[in-house]
Subunit: 230 residues, 8 copies
């Protein structure tokens, strides 16, 4: 095991084995890294010919990458704060994962989930702003939800949407609490606790605002379903 | 103001003015008081001819009261853990307050709200176990909810029921988080935060498991509505 | 139920049924939404001829709305950080709700409660800076408080004002903790806990700094009282 | 939707539609319910001919059920604290879900996950006590883990096992923090935070000690994979 | 300094210099000590001829002390859970410290403060159950409060009494939060935060339920005032 | 009581009775107030001829006050962030209160305590940077500490200095936790808890960074001692 | 690595390689394990001829072990709640580690550290009850502390002792917070935060009440020092 | 003891005895100190001819020091945010301490540990970015880890690396949680709890992001080992 491939950049050990071991390449989580470090890691991953994703990236990182002129196809997904380089064809999934949000303000987290799933070849569709204060908005989309293999539910404030969706469908639900809210939402703790305590069994939870992890988890699940379906 | 009536028992200052000032008599909250103290306060209140309510009362308090033989009509509401003495006729309200619970385990809190409202002359009806994991159970009771002047919603675990009810009705909703749940429900904190962060405006919240305060608040509201209605 | 009206803007599902279902129109909570999104939701609501309220709005949102020249009557309530469009006559309530604050610094939250109540037709009056460090200031306003149908009490720091008011009146009291304070006030947690633990029964609580929700709840209560009073 | 079937027992609304809607019948979560209530709900579910599961059940509940003599096949899974009634044949799954625990003390949570999965027809195998203090114990089971469709990882104390497993496999991982530990483990908060912050993408989390929810979620995932596989 | 007197009992270093350095002898805080250890420390202190106080003592400790027959005058203050041995005359203070409690249930903490002050020669009087839900009860005692040199205020639940008293008097106020309350009182945290955030300047706070420390602090203050007064 | 004097500024009720009732005038706590509001309250207080103190004041407030040209003697204490107007002679106390700090970074809190005490006529001296990492620095000042009537101890990080000082002296000690520190100091919670849990009896605590309240409390204590001393 | 030795008991993977890899054998942490499981793990470890340690063991576990009659030399350290089997000679260290406690009530944690160190061959001496309320008690032991290679400091309540010791010596200090205390000590959180925030550099911390881990860490350090010393 | 040397700068008591007592000179922790104060303390330390270290220093502090022209050799370690003045030869240690980080973003904390160790004469080497999501990266460095006398492990997010390293080596491990992470990492609390609850005995912990304290503790340990080794 200690002989698996990685690349030592001095400040980072790039894990070139991750694609094989985990089914998706190493992704660059930007916070705390200098722009220079991110560019070097990005380059190391890109040189292998893989598609590259950098999350939580400020726009200046994207500008630094474009200035290198090494990545003509790199693009910046502003809402998701993600940098994407597609240089290898991505085969799209057959089925689509619904990404449901309670409010409009939850959309950046949905965008991160979406861009993550898509670079892994997973098609998604966002159903925004169907929170429980107006349940009929959610019920108007029931058919799409009941046909899904897996659903991502994203909500801040009281986070009740995950339980409501979870109680209506038979597929696994991945809940993402967001930091949207004020006062006693405590930066997402309220929604996180709501989702962890969901009375709808089968709801699993990722970290606050972590659209990336939800995107990975949902894609890993749906990939297995589609693989076995062929 | 410093000349309003109270009675000094040595260990308690019984507030005989509360009925006039607040619209309901002093209620005995039992935890932390000795049985002997409770019996004395109970007696002081009963001697004025008022109805008396003692909440969070263990059964041995009730037994001590019956042993005194001074209160032949005193009764113990086991589920609510409340002791009730009705010695003055209570005029029942015209309208009924629905007390909705998410689960069966929330019933003792509902019972405390019920017994509190009833000693203040407020009729109530409990709609139990209609949590969001099976929304159709709640929707089956919509008519009663939409006709109410005020609704009490009681829920533990993720506490999502308060938002869902709040989003469906036009009357005020009083939410009571309960300590039902395990792990990250943290003794009711999860439900409390959910309710405080409700996206359904107009939902107000009382302390965890505090059926008593919800009963008082709902009754104060409905009394004013009925008074003005005559 | 799934056939109730809403409008899909791509990033939001505007709930045009809320006025009918809940007694007040959908309100735009601005944080987390882009200026462009707010303008579009505002427009969608305004086109129906309803009055529109946007809360927690930065001034640049207001400027963007005025630049559209579609809403000549739109105004910005600076202290409340609220944008208001009145295009349909609002019938004022007969009675006035007192909004009591412990300190001067709590006034922005009071202003949010006031503007919210007023767009729902509810008259209010603010009684500022009557915190418990100088009780005589509060007692000087007792008559107005004892005549009210419902009272909003707003306090930061230790939040004790809610209990003191609650102990003096027979109407329902809605308590709003604020984030005013330093150190162990923990952004309003201190006042929130004080209010939740109020020994004055009948006090209900909304989220920290949530003048909006207090305004809605108080108005829903008073509306019912006045309706039944006619 | 409001016409879906449920049964009103007075203190509970039994959701007979759950099997159709969610793919598994209503399960009785015992804490907070009286023994009498549990027996009645159990009976109502059993009468439909379904298999019945009651979780977090003390042994006296099981004894009360056996005293009724209505359920000759009912059994008590002591370690899981679960009561199981199998009266309808359960078709076992083709593949097996590994349930990995960090320590021996995590086994009751694993047992709850196991009994839950099994009543849903899902085969499982427990791999106990392979925590990170002795990594070679985990690595000795790598083949089984890498062949799984989905893995449940259960750990208390620092909960690091979920990240380590998550970094080694390509299937989804469901992490269950347990309350095992002392001092700053804070009843499972330490493990919960570890799992939520996992650097291994694709790990999703359920509530502390919630083997039941992990069992449901894992089974829902694997069922879809196997269904599509046929 | 390292040559000051103490006595090494093997499991304790009894500080015989404390009376000189701090103005009161070492006091035995019982929790966590074995009965045998307490008896030995008690004996070591008693042999010096000083008065001895043991706090948070269960009754079996008192019984073990009486069984030794070495301390014929030892007594157990049940409400305070304190063991007291007076073998040296205590000269009573000229002035009395009021110990004010919000509720009857706060009395054990008041009793601990009282017994502590008294063994230091400080006279006290308890004014119980004058919480803010009925302010007139407090105002009925204003004269005694305004004549005091220092006041101890003891309150659980929302702890508002400390601010109210603090706003009415010109002497220092020592506030003791108690663990009385339920739900979001969190074992006294609510009252503690209230008191720390008091808008009435000059209120200082001790640990939850720590009547002992309040008794010491108030006595140290009053002693200095009386000393200088002679 | 409701007839005591206050002045209604529309946004504030200035408490002109505080000097009589509490022994010091109302002090302006600036955070959350607009500059305009502060200037008006300052003016209302100054017009009575009293000395005025505004705490937590940004420099622009001071500039606004000087621009009014109404207060030629107003000055800004930068380290304390306090605005001081002395227009009535202050009679200095006979004795001096030591204000001890654990580190240099705690000095702004000490400065706030100092300026507060001084406007009440209390002389103080700051003994800075004598934290427990170098105990000899503290012991070098023992004489001054042992001669004091009351001591203020200010410390961040682990806040241990309060216990060490408290264990060495016989006068009351007022402890002020500060927000100095990083990581698990949690903005002063670490020092706050340390001080609340002090094993040195007689230590009382004020809110984090609250030099003002410590200054008031210490002065109230020392005033009484000196008064009685004459 | 995956071929290192362990033994699969069905419910536990006993790590027989730990002695080689880590320098001490696997230790049995008892909470959460059944008595039967502990006996089997104990036996598996004992059969290898190693010395065996079981921590946090209730006395009934010890009794079950003695009933097996397989371990004639097994003994129960009551204060430490540890079961010890010495069947292989332990070579004592040359130097002694001081284990310093703030109070008598901290002694069980000291005992756990002591028994752990001793089974690893490390000599220790306990210096009890030298907390900062009476600093001279600590200073009386300075020589022993200054001669040590490493010191364990154990304290509850405010935990200040670790900083004071850390400021006086040049060797590494391992701090153990204990759960001794009440109210705002929050089961050891107060002492834990104090120690983590120690201004005395070089103090490292283990979990609350974790005498075992402190014993291991101190022994690992001292072993290296002595090894290199030969 | 009270006669040990220190220097009173008015705002600081510089501890010139620390080198003798603790084995390393006083270090300047910059936050909360003014630039002017830092320059003066720096000068006071430098004048004794010692090497000087200032931590958590913004670049403007360094510029102010260079402007004095008194310290031609002073340098700024940007990543560590440390100012270093070497004016006395530092004898390098024989052995090297590995500083292992979980991610690239943890490097500034590693840099602080490194610069701290080095000014104490301790050689270090950083092994970056070997977190548990790709275990083979860590295993590739096993030899260096197993040969170390002491290891510093730095990790944010879930902090699992400390347990994994701790389980693989026989030397003491010092764990540093970092504030790297988002959402429920709560500024490093997640990693802190993980490390405190490590199942790998012998892991001790310092405060969040406290590379300085880890550097001191590791150097104190290794110094003793090397001293005794000569």
């Amino acid at each position: 095991m200690r002989h698996l491939p990685f690349e030592d950049l001095g400040f980072a050990h790039v894990d070139h084995h991750r694609q094989i071991r985990r089914g998706f390449p190493e992704v660059i989580y930007c916070p705390g890294k200098t722009v220079e470090q991110i560019v070097k890691i990005f380059s190391a991953l890109a040189e292998k010919g893989d598609n590259v994703l950098a999350t939580r990236a400020e726009e200046d990182v994207f500008k630094a990458l474009t200035r290198t002129k090494k990545f003509p196809n790199v693009r910046y997904e502003k809402s998701a704060k993600a940098i994407v380089l597609e240089q290898k064809e991505i085969k799209p999934s057959k089925t689509t994962i619904p990404i449901v949000t309670a409010g409009t303000a939850d959309l950046p987290v949905a965008a991160e989930a979406k861009v993550t799933a898509e670079i892994m070849g997973q098609r998604t569709e966002i159903i925004p702003d169907v929170g429980v204060a107006g349940l009929h908005r959610l019920l108007g989309h029931m058919e799409r939800l009941q046909n899904a293999n897996v659903i991502i539910v994203i909500a801040g404030m009281e986070g009740a949407l995950a339980s409501v969706v979870g109680g209506l469908v038979s597929c696994p639900v991945i809940a993402v609490p967001t930091s949207i809210g004020t006062g006693a939402s405590f930066g997402g703790i309220s929604a996180l606790l709501t989702m962890l305590n969901s009375c709808a069994a089968g709801v699993t939870v990722v970290n606050i605002d972590n659209g990336f992890s939800a995107g990975v988890a949902a894609t890993l699940i749906n990939k297995r379903i589609e693989q076995n379906n062929s």
